[in-house]
């Protein structure tokens, strides 16, 4: 039980942080930039990608021993395209607002590199439950990142939060294309900065744990001291 918890924990941590599709791998950028004009849109896009990712991962994992290796990429693409077609029908019927705002980016989920990437790197080699977990967590990582960018752009561009007006200002820059690239770039930089800091703190802590029992060796410098240097 503990071992399996650890395994799923690792899948979750990889999907959300270390291999975050949007900020670390920088995959599926078209959808990220195109759909992040408002928080609701980007949340909807993230969830749609998550659903397709989950379904395609499960199906590909189930069929992993049936699909011949030489035609695996076309087979994966057909499976993903079928899932997107189904999603499109469901959205058109039940959430027409989201369907309209997604426009051309809805069929383009088929060529979202994240989905094909996870199919190739994970689902084609791993059992069903792990693949499902990988799909959910990779999708959630992507959804969080997209929603964050959406919130920032919506707030700065029109002063509202999830469509609710908070402040009375508008910076047009953030609603158009240039702002999308800018906010995305800054978000990646901040994500890299924060994860690097966490990694360094972890390493310093480990080094201390290893050194202290060995005697009165001096402690490794803390973050603050290295910054000063």
């Amino acid at each position: 039980m503990n071992a399996s918890m650890k395994k799923y924990g690792k899948i979750a941590y990889d999907g959300l942080i270390t291999n975050n599709a949007t900020f670390k791998l920088v995959l599926g950028t078209c959808a990220t930039l195109g759909m992040s004009t408002s928080a609701v849109n980007s949340f909807g896009m993230g969830l749609s990608v998550t659903v397709v990712l989950l379904l395609s991962n499960v199906i590909i994992s189930l069929l992993r021993n049936v699909i011949p290796n030489t035609v695996r990429i076309p087979a994966f693409v057909v499976i993903i395209a079928t899932m997107v077609t189904l999603l499109r029908m469901v959205l058109e019927k039940y959430i027409p607002d989201l369907y309209d705002s997604m426009g051309v980016f809805l069929p383009l989920i088929v060529v979202n590199c994240v989905i094909l990437g996870r199919a190739e790197a994970f689902a084609s080699k791993q059992p069903v439950l792990e693949s499902a977990a990988d799909g959910i967590f990779t999708g959630l990582g992507l959804t969080c990142a997209l929603t964050l960018i959406g919130i920032i752009r919506e707030f700065l561009g029109s002063g509202s939060f999830f469509g609710i007006r908070v402040m009375d200002f508008k910076i047009g820059f953030f609603t158009n294309a240039a702002g999308a690239f800018f906010v995305y770039g800054i978000c990646i930089a901040l994500f890299v900065l924060i994860t690097d800091q966490i990694d360094r703190a972890k390493r310093v802590k480990q080094a201390r744990l290893l050194r202290v029992p060995a005697g009165d060796a001096p402690l490794p410098p803390t973050d603050a001291q290295t910054e000063v240097k």
Partner: protein, 204 residues
């Protein structure tokens, strides 16, 4: 007529540029734009596949899928057509010109999963030209000629953005940039400034 054609050209290349305004084909824009030469090869390959894909998908949709009432299968059909075309093109180039294959061939498999190709095929499925080309007079029906023209110049716009970015990145490599901004972040910020320049065309 001439005005419509001019409008399509300006719209596809500048004011509705696929990369910098419509955000289609960002993956190759970030991945293959480290050098001007490779950016140019990728741009030409994409343009070629865009025209061929439109040449097949537009008639397929209008004359086969609509009469049969199977429009809902468009995504599956289109991705299949594009994958087959790319594969065919790769084999033809390999046979005809090994030198060209060496310089362009490695980019061809990447094109199958390029949003720009599927994007142009999907965008062309409108009834009225003004739905795609902003500023065109309403009432001009979409046809294969306009679709091909749009695909060609969308490809030219794509190549233009790729080559410009290649030039910018060659210079960026040599600059001292903060560690966390290296790589993707600084490229995105550079792309943001380029997008601002292209935004001006949309204001005209």
């Amino acid at each position: 007529m001439a005005a419509t054609i001019l409008l399509i050209v300006i719209s596809a290349v500048f004011s509705q540029n696929f990369i910098l305004v419509k955000f289609l084909g960002i993956c190759p824009f970030l991945g293959v734009s480290k050098k001007v030469n490779s950016a140019l090869s990728m741009g030409i390959a994409v343009t070629l596949v865009m025209i061929l894909a439109t040449l097949v998908t537009y008639p397929l949709y209008t004359y086969v899928m609509v009469p049969l009432g199977i429009e809902y299968l468009e995504i599956i059909f289109f991705i299949f057509v594009i994958a087959a075309l790319v594969q065919m093109l790769e084999k033809i180039i390999q046979k005809l010109s090994p030198a060209l294959y060496r310089s362009m061939g490695i980019y061809l498999p990447l094109i199958t999963t390029n949003c720009a190709i599927l994007g142009v095929a999907e965008l062309m499925l409108v009834n009225d030209l003004s739905e795609v080309v902003a500023g065109a007079a309403a009432g001009i029906t979409m046809n294969l000629g306009f679709a091909l023209l749009y695909a060609l110049f969308a490809g030219v716009g794509f190549t233009l953005a790729m080559v410009l970015m290649g030039g910018v990145r060659e210079k960026l490599e040599k600059l001292p940039v903060a560690k966390c901004m290296k790589g993707f972040p600084i490229t995105m910020v550079a792309a943001s400034f380029m997008a601002m320049a292209f935004y001006v065309f949309a204001l005209l």
